[in-house]
Amino acid sequence: MQELVSRAKELLANGTVERVLGWKAGDLPYNPEPAYFYVEEDFDNFVYNGFCGANLSKYMIEASKMEGKTLVFLKPCDTYSFNQLIKEHRVDREKAYIIGVGCKGKLDIEKAKKAGIKGIESVAGADMSDACDTLTFQTIYGEKTCAYADVMLERCHVCKGKEHVISDEVIGESNDTKDAERFAEVEKIEAMSPEEKFAFFQKELSKCIRCNACRNVCPACSCRKCVFDSTKFDSAQKANVDSFEEKMFHVIRAFHVAGRCTDCGECSRVCPQGIPLHLFNRKFIKDINEFYGEYQAGADTDSRGPLTNFTFDDVEPSIVTERG
């Protein structure tokens, strides 16, 4: 972390960048927030640890409008989002100085809390320098420990890899965290009967409160005005908890980002109701891979997305029925 700070200070001092976009320590041991750093003193609060799950790529849309360059710290998976945003002309590569940061898997404090850890006063083992694979919590109710991997975000278990697909330089080591198959959950659902599938999604989606956190955090959902907020399309919907969220909202949203979603997992991370929203996006990704060849959104900045492309002998929609 010190290396990140000193490099950032250096780049600020020599005028390469005007500001630094990173994470600032929170008021609890596990809630750092995305923040800008402008001068040397700002870095007193700088932090980069296992709780820095936020994907800073989306913030670069706004940062691209500012004067001068912004130094941004991107984790390997964040770089895919950044690339995709370049492709969609939503960020300006020239306005970004990208330092790829190492990643050892990011943490989901909810998982610890679900495991009964409450009243947390401090956490040990979440720093990048910590080599241990255990997290130790000091709580009001005593010391608690749990395995690092058990508190990891879902997305880290199916990590795309620790390569930075775009960066100006890379600092820090990464650990391979992949220990599950990316499409295993999707396949499980695919194998269900229509009734089971429907029940599964109804149960999950009935929790939705339409807070729009999934949409607003999503780097692919970068529309200036979302169709769900726009009166123009006759599609504006707001917090109709009955039907719309359960049936349409998430499907439409997933379709809107299909072929552009890098599977960064932010939607699932931020959902206050713990809905596994990635299951929608990943279904599209799986289908795209199977029907049109392997495609990873954000792997590059110039290829055509699968939905703005075609081949003469693409599969027919009837494949959905035929494959049973």
């Binding site: 929170g26 009001i140 956190a213 109709n240 109701q273």
Partner: protein, 343 residues
């Protein structure tokens, strides 16, 4: 003071639900929220905080106001019926109850919101003391005692037994209905529990948060502070904080085209949304900074200025837990405090 063994609670719930609707914390796919009790529901009284506050029992996220139907070329308006059945909300916490008090200030003053008023009239609240408060709690800051909560019925869960104490007429009435399931108890254990809870509250990291200087007198000073410009930056403009909040009361009114008519409904709105208070001329808050500022100014300045110093925050800490960008009201207060110290 009565008590009932934990294992008999389902009988208690069944008894209550036999006569009226019962809302209580239910675990659905890993998330605990208040929901109507049904046979076999996974009731969860151990989780301290439901994801959403239980305010929907009185102020649902979405409710119909009236339906307009077309009959040939004429329109027929069918108003939605007001709540006319009694119901019980079981397992609210002291902060949640305080949240309802905040809502009362909005909806029960003239002009009275009839939908809300009807629900308040028919609802009986059973509150539970917080056995193990968490690091995100700061109800103490607002003078709430989560060890000794006040509602129609107050309860404590101690060593596998629920202690039960009716505090109001409604509470007495409910107690009478389920008296057969309750046994008499003395208050010793409850007093001990209260002490234990209060001791923990003292240790909570946010308990010493100071709201000094947050009142209507400093409106412009706070409003014009340059701190907002820094604070709002990570905000994603989602509505999570407002939708989990027990006191946020803003709503939007919308129409839904059912094909054969229009349903007019209201639903929670969020001041964080870009289309919040959108009017014909446009929007009076055009930047996210302004919208972000609005939320906290409302909770900590405008509301107390209009309501005898009552803040429209109850320190439940849900926003602290749920904000995707780890922003929250505590960070806002602290940021001003730090700034104040420097100046």
């Amino acid at each position: 003071m009565y008590k009932i063994a934990k294992e008999n609670l389902s009988a208690l719930f069944q008894a209550i639900a036999g006569e009226q609707e019962l809302y209580l914390p239910v675990n659905n796919n890993g998330q605990v929220n208040f929901a109507a009790w049904t046979e076999g529901a996974d009731v969860d009284l151990d989780t301290l905080k439901s994801v959403k506050s239980p305010k929907d029992a009185f102020f649902p996220q979405s409710e119909n106001l009236y339906t307009v139907k077309t009959e040939d070329k004429k329109l027929k308006v069918e108003p939605e019926a007001l709540k006319d059945q009694d119901f019980v909300v079981f397992g609210m916490k002291a902060c949640d109850v305080k949240g309802i008090e905040v809502l009362d200030k909005v909806f029960l003053v003239d002009p009275v919101d009839t939908f809300y008023a009807a629900r308040r009239k028919h609802g009986t609240i059973v509150v539970m003391a917080c056995h193990e408060p968490e690091e995100t709690c700061f109800c103490k800051v607002f003078g709430i005692d989560c060890a000794d909560p006040v509602a129609d019925v107050a309860t404590w869960m101690i060593d596998g037994e629920l202690y039960w104490k009716a505090l109001t007429e409604k509470g007495e009435a409910l107690t009478a209905k389920v008296a057969g399931l309750l046994t008499d108890a003395d208050e010793t254990k409850v007093e001990e529990e209260k002490k234990a809870i209060r001791a923990i509250v003292e240790k909570l990291p946010y308990s010493d948060l100071s709201l000094e200087g947050w009142n209507g007198d400093v409106l412009l000073e706070k409003f014009n502070s340059p701190i907002w410009e820094k604070l709002y930056k990570p905000c994603l403009a989602c509505g999570t904080c407002t939708f989990v909040c027990p006191t946020c009361q803003c709503y939007d009114i919308k129409d839904y085209n059912t094909g054969s008519g229009v349903q007019r409904y209201r639903c929670w709105d969020s001041c964080m949304y870009s289309d919040f208070t959108m009017m014909a001329h446009g929007n009076n808050r055009t930047s996210q900074m302004q919208r972000f500022r609005q939320r906290f100014m409302h909770k900590l300045v405008y509301f107390p200025a209009n309501n005898d110093g009552m803040y429209s925050c109850v320190g439940c800490g849900r926003c602290v837990e749920k904000c995707p960008s780890a922003l929250n009201i505590v960070k806002v207060v602290k940021a001003f405090e730090e700034q104040g110290g420097e100046n």
